[in-house]
Point group: C2
């Protein structure tokens, strides 16, 4: 029965309103002795703190509230060619950040060595010790088995396949390590930053690969093996384009960065990467605009299916290719409104990602905080206190 | 704070283990007076009952447990050409049932008149009064706005568009009325009956129309407007078949009952309905088998996308066309294993619906019970007691 555990008392204080023990007893109907015990546990954990209350004799000050700076979490975004790390508090606020250019293909040892060093640097810069760190959330640019924190057959991450990320982190920090793929944490980050009241949101990342993070019924949906949201290998129309996955006609084979560069080159405008296509489209090159628009239509075909199947109220389009301006979104909208059911699109918002790469680190922090403040983790910490 | 409301005490007793007030106080840490008040409320609501306890003087008997027969719910499955109704208890057990052949196109007044009469008949047959009825769950064969209980633009239900189903029921029974589309309640019914531990399940109904009920992360996902699961109007390959929705190439236009009858007729075997095709396929007609198999492949194309996007662990295939034997499922499997990602299909089970139409009424009962026993409803009932 979790009803009157420390986590429940903490939930009451998460709204930020300071309360006395007597008020907590009154609101909950709990015996004063029960409240006193739970409050003591939370004080010992540092999750709540006295707030400007009046101390009466030897008793602790009477007003209590959540203490967002009690602990910190690290949020890490490992991209294909960069790593970014932020330190956040328990309310999700970002305290500081560092980032570097680094190819994920350099492998987990090198990337995580940088992460571990950066965590130490940021902790020190903010006057925090390793003991203040409560959890680390990490996003990786490939399929992740969330329950074990391992990447599974990641196409652009040589050396990472089934590599035990939490174990490497644990060599230096004995904290929970939450690993997920980048699009899932981006979906969380967008929801936390811009769409807190939205229960059904899809975040689509269009870059070297194409993937989606799905929030349905207010919760991130990872599916049975954590591969939910993989729209990159959905077949598009009658395309026979060969895909690196071994199939033909996959969305990635026609609408991801390398495919756009190839299409633009075939149309007589040399391009070596998706970034070239984006740059040319932003500069107004008509052929590049047409290539991006067609990519939007191809994306729109799969998104129309997603809209029919999931009926989201918000679809956020992000990733490097989405930076090409309105052309991609225009192509997407054209097909989604043509192919999705009117009832599903009547109130649908399709918008560009606003927080960009910040969506990833914000989502990584949100994932770490949600874990730290979950009733299960609070109870676990309380039991550790009792055992200590 | 719901922490120590009657619903919490009830949650403790739902496991079926009888407990005394003293045990409840001990387990929860609540003050004896709090427990006594909550228990009195639940006793007054009839949701818990004394169980063979020893009465001490004028005090009520001391052992308490959940009382599944305290109230009953009705579960209704309105199909295209039938209506079935069962009476269930609060544990979801079916107490009795009636059904009739009736075309949903006869309209809501006629269908609901039968339902209301059947509810009365079943209540009487089981010695129950109208006051014993706690809720009614209803599945309809078309899109439903779950929050208001209205069908929205249902294609095969003339007269039902935006018809206020709960209001009609309330003219005779002042109980909560939960309305959902038939595939959603079938998904719930299959999960309750066969896959209680499965968190990610898709139920696909293939009949005159094609639709799916989606359970992700353990919860039924209805989407923002309640239209989630509409795979009937997802485009299939390069098909240009005209669909009744106004678009071309929809799955329904190539793989639902009427499309199969038309395909079989074109192939030289006259068929007027999907049922004809099923009958012929079951009788071994090779052309009918080929038509059904191809429908399976077309379904498989959309299901491969659903498997990539949602990563379910179970896909259940039901509906009248699924009764054609293994041919439909074989076609589905062929394409899903070809087009879905290996990680998503490694542990995937694709199975025929076992409980058939019973999935619908069992799901309707489950939906009604979940509502009646939700903390919100118990608190509402308690507040009504207090106001009475």
């Amino acid at each position: 029965m979790s009803c009157v555990q420390a986590s429940d008392v903490f939930e009451l204080l998460r709204d930020g309103t300071p309360r006395t023990r007597a008020q907590l007893a009154e609101v909950t109907g709990l015996a004063r002795s029960t409240i006193a015990a739970r409050v003591d546990e939370l004080l010992q954990l540092g999750l709540i703190a006295p707030t400007g209350g009046v101390s009466t004799g030897g008793r602790p000050p009477s007003l209590l509230s959540m203490n967002p700076r009690a602990r910190v979490v690290a949020g890490v975004d490992v991209g294909a060619t960069h790593v970014a790390l932020v330190l956040g508090d328990l309310s999700g606020e970002i305290l500081g950040e560092v980032s570097t250019a680094m190819d994920v293909a350099e492998g987990p040892e090198q990337v995580l060595a940088w992460v571990l060093e950066a965590v130490g640097t940021l902790l020190a810069a903010h006057g925090r010790s390793a003991g203040d760190l409560a959890a680390i959330g990490i996003g990786l640019p490939g399929p992740v088995e969330h329950s074990t924190g391992r990447a599974i057959n990641p196409p652009i991450m040589p050396g990472w396949d089934r590599y035990d990320v939490p174990r490497r982190i644990h060599a230096e920090y004995a904290v929970p390590v939450l690993v997920d793929n980048d699009v899932n944490i981006m979906a969380l980050g967008e929801q936390r930053a811009r769409f807190r009241d939205v229960q059904d949101l899809i975040f689509v990342k269009v870059a070297t690969g194409i993937g989606a993070g799905i929030i349905s019924g207010g919760a991130l949906q990872r599916g049975a093996q954590g591969t939910a949201g993989d729209l990159g290998h959905v077949r598009v129309g009658a395309s026979q384009a060969a895909c690196r996955c071994g199939n033909t006609g996959c969305l990635e084979a026609v609408a991801a960065g390398p495919a756009l560069a190839a299409a633009l080159t075939r149309a007589g405008v040399p391009a070596t990467s998706g970034q070239d296509v984006v740059d040319l489209a932003r500069a107004g090159d008509l052929t590049a605009v047409q290539v991006v628009r067609q990519a939007g239509r191809d994306l729109g075909e799969v998104l129309a299916t997603m809209v029919n199947l999931m009926n989201p109220s918000v679809v956020v389009i992000g990733g490097r290719i989405a930076a090409s301006g309105e052309h991609l979104l225009a192509g997407i909208r054209e097909v989604v409104y043509q192919r999705s059911l009117p009832l599903a699109t009547e109130h649908l918002r399709m918008v560009p990602s606003m927080v960009g790469q910040r969506a990833a680190v914000q989502g990584a922090v949100a994932m770490a905080v949600a874990h730290v403040l979950s009733p299960e983790q609070i109870e676990l910490a309380v039991r550790r206190l009792a055992g200590a």
